[in-house]
Amino acid sequence: MMPRVRSFKASAARALADTQLQTALARARGGFVDKRAKAVAALPEFEALRRRGREIKDHSLAHLDLYLERFEQAVTASGGEVHWAATPAEARDIVLGICRETGARRVTKGKSMVGEEIAINPALEAAGVEVVETDLGEYIIQLGQEPPSHIIAPAVHKTRGQIAELFRDHHPLDPQRSLESVASIVDEARAVLRERFLAADLGITGANFLIAETGSVVLVTNEGNGDLTACLPRTHLVLASIEKIVPTLEDASVLLRLLGRSATGQAATAYTSWYTGPKRPDDPDGPEYFHVVLLDNGRTNLLDGPFRDMLRCIRCGACINHCPVYGAVGGHAYGWIYPGPMGAVLTPLLLGLDEAAVLPEASTLCGRCEEVCPMGIPLPDLLRELRFRGFTARVTPRRSRLLVRAWASLVRRPWLYRLVTAIAARLLHLLGRSRGSLRRLPLGAGWTAARDLPAPAGRTFFAEQARREKTGP
């Protein structure tokens, strides 16, 4: 999709006023948080796993060139082929080339964030290749022609009624047939997509991990759509970004224990599969061709510097589920494909600060994201670093820069700071004296639109402390 990050403020305002969206978000919020908390509490080894997971990723990233070469050798040895893409355009060309070579006209697709990143669907459609998303959430938003609003629950913003309506618009359905229950909706999608699975010439999946040692691609799903996509068509094509590499099968097992619990609160998803090459000569089923497209898209540049930490991300979505800003506005407001704290860091890094400087500002820096991140990514620090870079490069709005500069000159002069805050505290105290709170704040109408400001006690902390030191409490 074309990024619409710049209009974050307007999109967020629209999202707050959208009652259907707010209903859907309210339903999702507690669910994800509670399930994760329960799963983590049930595993005393979680912290130890987290430390080991971080160690594995740090080691993999520090030796990424060597492990990528290993991976390529192992894939080739198993009869598959690895393709390297520096940019989304190169990745699209590779995929279209493989479709042409194999004569693929019908493509099924498992969920892939790299697929979203390179916008593969419109490219396939433009080339006359029919592509259908098979993850139920992705299928729903494909029908609605929308981007995903969450990296693991792409249709989390949709209510049951909206989904039923989409199915009625796109499937030849008897109007009498009820799509009231969740079961009836899932059954309808199952029946329609089953035909697509069986008719597909080529299946595209993402990868949760790539194993350097064996050349395997690890795929995690609950629906089984990834496996039907990988096993039934003549060609299995994997889209993955370069930082998905881990050295060994054991390393992947450590990260899988963290991934399921952090994402959906599951110790294991229904299906976890390790794919290594095409079908063997005597295998009765499985794909004849196995391709892996490795996408860089600017990631190599992140290795040098503070943003290397971001490459540890395993795309569990825990930071998104725990983010108060995401919880209020949902994923679409972020304007591209990665929402929440991980999106607010990754989007400016992949699209450039010019495009996305607004996202790091859309955070309270409350720190919950870092607390729940299974890979210990210091998201608030990275957001602050991006704010600093946006400020220095003058891409943050003029008004914000002016205010930050004014604030800086105030706090750098303690005498001035104390004077101004003493006056402000006194003034606000007088203004709110009758009710003990303020309904409207001069210059802060946005803040007081939804709540009152408790009136200050009249003295600043410094003044009160000085008084106590003199006279005792």
């Binding site: 130890a48 990424l64 060139d65 893409a85 969740v182 395997s216 089984g224 496996d227 390790w274």
Partner: protein
């Protein structure tokens, strides 16, 4: 696109090759050779028992089959309850072929097709930690059987329950010819929570998963204790 490949590797080396190249290669070799497992979650009980509890918690049905006759009877019962008109598709596995199949049971030994409702395959192992079945693709156990039917029935020898995936990796590494095309860890039937975060079984894969645990002398006690069916 070897240009993209070389550029990518060159950019990586520009950022990473602060350390000596030989040292980095040695680090990689030693990490791969050690294949060190991470912290392993303690199991609440004996592996077989834990497997049964976890598998049932993931909505799999578990039945004990002491003999080949028990196994056939269990399958007849499932077939009767599922759909009398259709056949039972059985993995072309030597062990399954050798079973005393009754003449009136509509059995076909082959890989799965589009309309198959009930399939039977054999698990390479079970994983106690998560209650998962391990299925390897291959001539005798093609992968489609695991994913296409409405009801997937899987035979698992009780003495093949391993504690952790790490135990499986050690075994697979020792196999000649490396990993098979696919290693599947299957934990319960297919499911989705994509509609209003409500868990619904039977998304694209099987709606039902039945594990037939065949007893082996070594773990007879556990197999008996954990059986509900």
């Amino acid at each position: 696109m070897s240009g993209a490949r070389d550029n990518c590797l060159r950019r990586l080396r520009a950022s990473l090759a602060t350390a000596d190249v030989r040292q980095r290669t040695t680090d990689v070799e030693s990490w791969l050779r050690q294949a060190r497992p991470g912290p392993l979650p303690a199991l609440a009980a004996h592996p077989t028992e834990t497997f049964c509890a976890r598998a049932e918690a993931s909505a799999a049905q578990l039945r004990r089959v002491a003999t080949a006759v028990d196994l056939i009877a269990a399958l007849q019962e499932i077939l009767g309850a599922t759909d009398k008109q259709r056949s039972l598709v059985v993995a072309p596995d030597e062990r399954l072929r050798a079973l005393p199949w009754p003449a009136d049971l509509p059995v076909e030994h082959r890989h799965a097709g589009r309309d198959d409702r009930l399939c039977l395959s054999v698990a390479e192992a079970g994983i106690a930690e998560t209650g998962s079945l391990v299925l390897l693709s291959g001539t005798q156990t093609p992968s489609g059987l695991n994913f296409l039917p409405d009801h997937f029935v899987c035979l698992l020898a009780a003495d093949r329950v391993l504690a952790y995936p790490e135990d499986l990796w050690a075994e697979l590494r020792a196999r000649p010819g490396g990993l098979p095309r696919a290693v599947h860890l299957i934990t319960g039937p297919s499911r989705t929570a994509d509609v209003e975060q409500t868990m619904q079984l039977g998304a694209h894969g099987p709606r039902h998963l039945t594990i037939l645990m065949s007893e082996a002398p070594a773990s007879h006690q556990q197999a008996v204790r954990c059986t509900r069916g």
